[in-house]
């Protein structure tokens, strides 16, 4: 069945409303989040009108936003931060580290920190070098911290509740373009692939075609899921290459166990992400999957994300590059 989901941004917005309705102690801090604006990407629209005390518009102070949210979380609240652009997470790294290491046991035992830092990320909007980055890779292996990606293959409400249930802070990277794309509920668009969620909440989304064989497994976070689906669809239709797609909402810690159970023996793996080269999430995944497995990485190329659309396109991960990497993976 072809998906006709609502837009992912709307669905996330609704999930936040749900969260704030169910949790009377939840707070959100962000820049320009008040109605009628509702945040630069409108994800918080309506929230401040319904929960005026708990939705706070902050000055331009990313470190203080995250710090104050972590103070709320230390005191037992659910706290959500909306960064305007994920790029500015670089201004709050110390605060993130403190919250994470408190959760991990700085004071002798894990202390629950229910904190989600929302990070609108990625390029393809022509915003230029300082507003287009995918910095998730730099936060992998920061003790006490989880890294998630907004995903069309997952319910955002489930993603948020999973993050909070961890009892440790998490960064939620939200691809800005994906806000405007449909969710994969009830099924992924295109009608070729069908999927299900496997493993502990929020689960790994497994997408297959009914082909009786798998030539390649493509692993990605939610940020690149639409591009991967498109690439896999084209590979199937034009080149008879059959991919299984695994979409992760939680990219770190990597759910090695669930993923390993979904890899047919001997089939090569492609790990897809939008980040620039070097120290990527894919390298970490490749290591965890073990030396016995052929793993090919797909990511953006270059060192800066240009503003001009045609230059940006040449740098950022796209459908063609995913296809090329899959072909490369299955070629040997």
């Amino acid at each position: 069945m072809t998906g006709r989901g609502e837009r992912l941004g709307e669905e996330l917005r609704a999930a936040l409303h749900e969260l704030f309705t169910e949790d009377p102690e939840a707070f959100l801090l962000g820049q320009d989040v008040l109605d009628p604006y509702g945040g630069a990407f409108k994800i918080t629209r309506g929230l401040s009108s319904r929960f005026p005390d708990r939705v706070r518009s902050t000055p331009i102070s990313e470190a203080a936003m995250v710090g104050a949210a972590s103070g709320l979380a230390l005191a037992g609240h659910t706290a959500v931060v909306e960064l305007m652009f994920s790029d500015f997470v670089t201004l709050a790294v110390d605060q993130i580290l403190y919250a994470a290491s408190t959760a991990a046991g700085t004071y002798g035992a894990p202390w629950p920190v229910r904190l989600v830092v929302r990070c609108p990320s990625g390029g393809r909007r022509g915003y230029g070098p300082s507003h287009s980055q995918s910095l998730q890779k730099h936060f992998i292996g920061m003790p006490g911290l989880t890294v998630y990606e907004l995903s069309p293959a997952h319910r955002s409400a489930s993603v948020l509740s999973s993050m909070l249930a961890e009892g440790r802070p998490g960064l939620l990277f939200e691809d800005k373009v994906s806000y405007t794309e449909p969710t994969w509920t009830p099924g992924p668009p295109g009608g070729l692939f069908t999927g299900e969620l496997v493993g502990p909440e929020p689960g790994v989304a497994v997408l297959d075609v009914d082909a009786g064989v798998v030539n390649c497994v493509v692993i990605c976070g939610g940020s690149t899921a639409n591009r991967v689906l498109e690439a896999a669809s084209r590979l199937l239709l034009t080149q008879d290459v059959v991919c299984r797609i695994l979409v992760l909402a939680r990219t770190h810690p990597f759910d090695q166990k669930t993923v390993n159970g979904l890899l047919p023996p001997g089939v090569p793996v492609v790990v897809v992400e939008e980040s620039l080269p070097g120290g990527t999430w894919g390298a970490e995944v490749a290591y965890r999957l073990g030396a016995g497995r052929r793993v090919v990485l797909a990511h953006s190329e270059g060192e800066v994300i240009p503003a001009a659309a045609h230059l940006e396109r040449a740098v950022l991960l796209n459908v063609d590059r995913v296809m090329e990497r899959v072909r490369h993976a299955v070629s040997e």
Binding site: F88, H131, L311
Partner: protein, 302 residues
């Protein structure tokens, strides 16, 4: 806090000032049109209403000074010697762009002029550039533009502290348009910018007028002071006539009317015959530049 004295000022705009202000104005107006026509991608923050600020400063800043601009930097760029076509080419992604099509609207460069779209973080960098000028001993300075909302960033205070402690030739230019994106100053700044600057031992001058020829006599000695090691904050009380970026203005009609009424462009003083002539001439100049740049091939990047 000093308030701009307006006594000794000449009566009329200097023609050069007026041309530059008009050029910036027509550029920004055309950018909104280009955006509406789908010819301009990405993001762009126009400085409608604020053009006179860099125009006031332009003749006081030397080519060997360092200038750090922000997201709203087209006017700064043009006033501080940037080329109109290279700006357009950058914004439109054509050959010959100021930053090769990489930086885009928020990351422009021309000589020692650089803009940066991450609020507040250029202040420490500017302090370092000022340290360079202090060391070089040639009377240079570093000038950095920031908005009012940007005073939420801690980096601003770290830099002010350094500047005052080390007597750095740092000129902080605040374009206080009373709003940050959608947030009015009262909701983002407790106390005041003036008191904050002074609390760090940094000279602060508030400027309410919007005419370069009136402002410049007030500003000139302050800039001279900066060059000899007295850092200063120039706070221009100004208005943002347009949206924050593109079509995102949440202000009510009354506020918009107030803002438009204060716009220098609409309130051209009586008796300035050149006003319309200059406006037309600059509109045409910008139009020609746009046509020329749109005809160029796309930027290539090595």
């Amino acid at each position: 806090m000093t308030n701009a004295a307006t006594t000794r000022a000449p009566k009329r705009h200097d023609l050069g000032d007026l041309r530059l202000m008009m050029r910036i104005r027509h550029l920004e107006l055309r950018l909104h049109e280009l955006y509406a026509d789908g010819l301009l991608g990405g993001t762009t923050h126009t400085c409608l209403g604020q053009e006179y600020v860099p125009v006031t400063l332009a003749p006081l800043i030397r080519r060997d000074d360092d200038v750090f601009s922000n997201h709203r930097g087209h006017g700064h760029f043009l006033a501080h010697g940037g080329d109109l076509r290279s700006l357009l080419a950058e914004i439109l992604g054509r050959e010959g762009g100021a930053s090769g099509g990489v930086g885009g609207s928020q990351h422009l460069r021309a000589g020692r002029f650089r803009s940066l779209g991450v609020q507040g973080q250029s202040l420490p960098v500017a302090a370092g550039a000022a340290l360079h000028h202090q060391h070089a001993g040639a009377g240079g300075l570093a000038c950095v533009y920031v908005g009012d909302g940007t005073w939420g960033e801690g980096a601003v205070y770290e830099a002010l502290n350094l500047a005052a402690l080390w007597s750095l030739p740092l000129l902080v230019v605040v374009e206080n348009n009373g709003i940050a994106q959608t947030t009015p100053s009262a909701a983002h700044t407790a106390g005041s910018i003036g008191r904050r600057a002074e609390a760090f031992g940094v000279r602060h001058v508030r400027l309410d007028d919007m005419r370069p020829h009136v402002l410049r006599p007030v500003v000139t000695p302050v800039v001279a002071g900066v060059r000899s090691g007295t850092p200063a904050v120039l706070e221009f009380r100004t208005v943002r006539v347009g949206p924050h970026s593109k079509g995102d203005d949440t202000r009510g009609e009354a506020e918009l009317q107030r803002v438009r009424a204060a716009d220098w462009f609409r309130s051209g003083p009586a008796g300035e015959r050149e006003w319309d002539e200059v406006s037309d001439a600059e509109a045409e100049r910008v139009g020609r530049a746009i046509a020329e740049v749109l005809a160029r091939p796309e930027a290539r990047w090595s």
